[in-house]
Amino acid sequence: MNREIGQFKMKDFMAQNKLIFLLFSLIIVMFIFGEIFSKGFLERDHVYAIFRTASFLGIVSIGQTIVILTGGIDLSVGPLITMGNVFTCMLINGENSNTLWGVLVVILLGMAFGYFSGFSVSYLKISPLVITLVMGSIVTGITLIISHGAPKGLASPFLRFIGVGRLFDIFPMIIIIWLLLSFFTILLLNFSVFGRKIYYIGANEKAALFSGIKTNQLKSLIYSISGGTAVLTGALMAGYTHTAFLGIGNEYILWSIATVVIGGTSLAGGKGGYIGTIAGAIIFVLLESLLTVMNISEAGRRIANGAIILLLVSIYYSQEK
C-alpha cells in the first residue's frame, strides 16, 4: 500500500499543538497589557524578576506534571519545599563547601519521602490524594521538630549566586537552571522510553500493565521524582531568600497544580506535557504580577487565583467533550 503516513505537515503540527500556541500568545498579550497598565512593566529587570519567580514554580511543577500525567496528584510538594528550604540552610550554614553535598542530601531526603508516597499509591493501592496529604503532614512535623520551630542557618554565597545572581552579570542563573531542567524534562517526556511509559500508565494503567510495563515500579519512581523536584525548589529558594522560612512552600500546592492544569495537562492522566506547564508557570506568575500592579490586595489575588483555575478547567473540560 502506498501511504505517506506520518509525514510532517505544518498544519497537523499546528492543530495538535494549538493550545501551546494559544498559551504563549496569551503570555505576550499579558505582558503588553502589563506595560499599558503600568509603564516599566516590560523593563528588563522586571521581566527577569517575573521569570525568576516562574523558575521556582516551574521546577516544582516538573514533578507535579509527571505525577498528574500518570493520573495521580502530589499534595505534599508544599511541605517538601519548606523542608528543602529549611534543611538546606541548616546543612549549608553559610559555607560554600557545604553547598553541593547539602543540596544533594536534601534532594535524596525529598526523593525518599516521595518514594514512600509512590509506594503507597502503587503497591498498597492508597489514593494519591490522601497519602500525599498525609505525607505532607508528616514532613511538616519533621521539619518543625528538627528546626525547633525556628529555622537557623544560611545559604552559602554560591547558592545565593544561583538564586539571585546573574551569569556573566547578564542573565539570571536561576532561569538558566530552569531552562536546563526543562530541556531534560521535555527530552524525557517526549523522546525517552521512560517518558512514553508515563503516558501509557496515565492513559490506561491496566492496559499498560497488560502490555508488560512495570507500572508499580514506575509510579513509585515518579512520586520520588516529584519529591525531589519539590525539595530542590526549596533548596534553590534558599539562595533567593538567604535564610529559611517555615511555610514558604504552602502556596505551591495549589500553584503547582494550577500551573499543570493551565498548561493543558489532563487531571485524568495520559494527555499533556511539560511545555504547557512552562507556559502555565509564566502565565500564573504574570497574573500575580498584573494583580499586584493593579493594586489588588492579597485577598483579592487569592480569589483571582481560584477563579482563574475554575474558569480554565471548565473551558478545557467542555473542549474534551
Partner: protein
Amino acid sequence: MAVATSTEKKNISLKMEGIVKSFPGTLAVDNVDFICKKGEIHGLVGENGAGKSTLMKILGGIHRQERGKVSINDKEQHFRNYSEAREAGVGIVYQELSLLPDLSVAENIFMGIWAKKGKFIDWDEIKTKSKEILNEININLDPEELVETLPVALRQMVEIAKVLTQNPEIIIFDEPTAALSKDEVTRLFRIIKKLKETNKTIIFISHRLTEVLDISDIITVMKDGKVVVTQRKEYFTEDKLISAMVGREFSKIFPRKTNQIAQEKLFSFDTVLDKFQKRVAFSLFKGEVLGIGGLQGQGQIELLQSIFGLGESASQKIMISGEEIRVKNPSQAIQSGISLIPEDRNSEGVFLILSILQNVTAATIDRRKKVGLIDKQKEKEEVNEITSKLTIKMTSYHQIAQSLSGGNLQKLVLAKWLLSNPKVIVMLEPTKGVDVGTKQQIYTLIRELAKEEVAVIVYTSEMIELIGICDRVLVMNQGFLTANFQGKDITEEKIMKASVSNVDILAKEKR
C-alpha cells in the same frame, strides 16, 4: 428473508419496524423488523457483531435508531434513555448485572423506588415486599444479605426481582445462562416460563443454541445486522440455526484445520490455581490451535492469565520448546515470548486516548531504544509494516485510537503483540465485538500463526468459534480439566456435557 408471523394484531406487544443504526465504520442494524407477541418467548440468536445487542439496546432506550419505528402495544415510542423505556414497560436483565454489591438484596431490588412511610424509608416494608417478589420466582433468599456475598446465579435472581418491581411487559434476557450450571439453568427456565404464563413478552438472547431451541416459542436469527429468518421453533434444528447464523456452510467460514499435528511439544503448562486449588496441566503440539471451553467463570481466564504472569497461581511450571521458563509478571512473560490478547480490550488492551502508533508500540517499547531514547524512525517503519499487513483502516498513525471501530481496535491489539514476535499467544475472546470481515481475518491469522509454529491458545465463549478454529479443546469446570477433545469429538453436545462433568481427567493420570 422469510418472515412468518401471525396476523393476530391484538396480541402483538412489540413491533420494531425498519430499524437502522450505524456506528463509525459499521452498519450495526440494517433495516430490521422484529415483532413479539404477548405470552411468547422469542429467542434471538446471532454471532458476535450480528446486531442483536444493538437492536436490544435500541429497545432499551440506550441507543437511538436512525430510521425505523418502535411501538409497544401499538403505541409508537421514542425513548431518550433507559428510564423512559422502563416506564413504557421494557425491562432488561443484563449479562453484566446492575447491582450494587455493597448494599443489601432488598435495597438493590427497590433501588430508586424505596417504599415509604411518610417522608422516610420504611425498611420493614421493603424487606417484606422483596421477600414476596423473590418468592414469586421461587427463590429463597434473605433480603438483608449483602449482594457481594452472593454467587452469580443468585445475583441474577436479584436482578430479575429488581426488573420485576417495575412491572415490565417486555423482559429481555441478555445471555443469562453463560455462567450458570445445569440446575441453575433449569431454575431460571422455570422462572421464565412462569413469567410467560402471566402474559409477559420474553426476549431470550443466547449463544447456547440447545437452550434457545428448548425454551423459545419463536426464533429470530440475525447476521450482519439483518434478520435472516424468523420462524417458530419447530422449524429449526441446531444445524439449521448454525447455517443461518454463519450464512454458509460451516466449513467455509473457518480456515481448514490442520491434519498434521506433530508429536513435538511446543508448550506445556502445569499449575494449581489459587482460587480453585486444583491442578491443571496441558501441553500444546506443533501446528495445533488449542481451545479452552466450559461455562464462564470456571477458571479459564485465571488459567490463561497466569501464563502471562498475571498470576493467581502460587506454583506454576511453563515449558516452551523444552526449556523451562520463569514468569512472575507480564514483563517477564513478554521477554520469554508470551503474549496475551486480553478479554476486555477497552480496559485492558488499548489506550483509547493515545495514538495508533503509541498503541502498537506499547508492548515492544524497550526494544527500540538508543541510550534510553526511542528510535522513532524504526518505530515508524515497524508500525507501517504491521498496520498494512493487518489492513488496519486509518488516515495516519497519529490518529487517536478511540476513533477506530471494534474490529480495527482488536487488530490494533493484535498488531501490538505480533510486533513482539511471540512464541506463545494466548487469546481471550479474540472476536468479541468484532465485525464479520475482521473475524475471518482473525481466524486466518490464527491458522497462520499455528502453521508458523507459534503456540496459540484460545478461550472463547462462542461455541461455534471454539469448534471452528480449534484442533483440540480442553474443557474446564470448577478449576479443573474435565475433557480433552480432538478432531471429530469436538461437538457442542460433548463440550456441554463436559462443562458440567465432575470428572478430573488429571486425577486419573499419575504425575
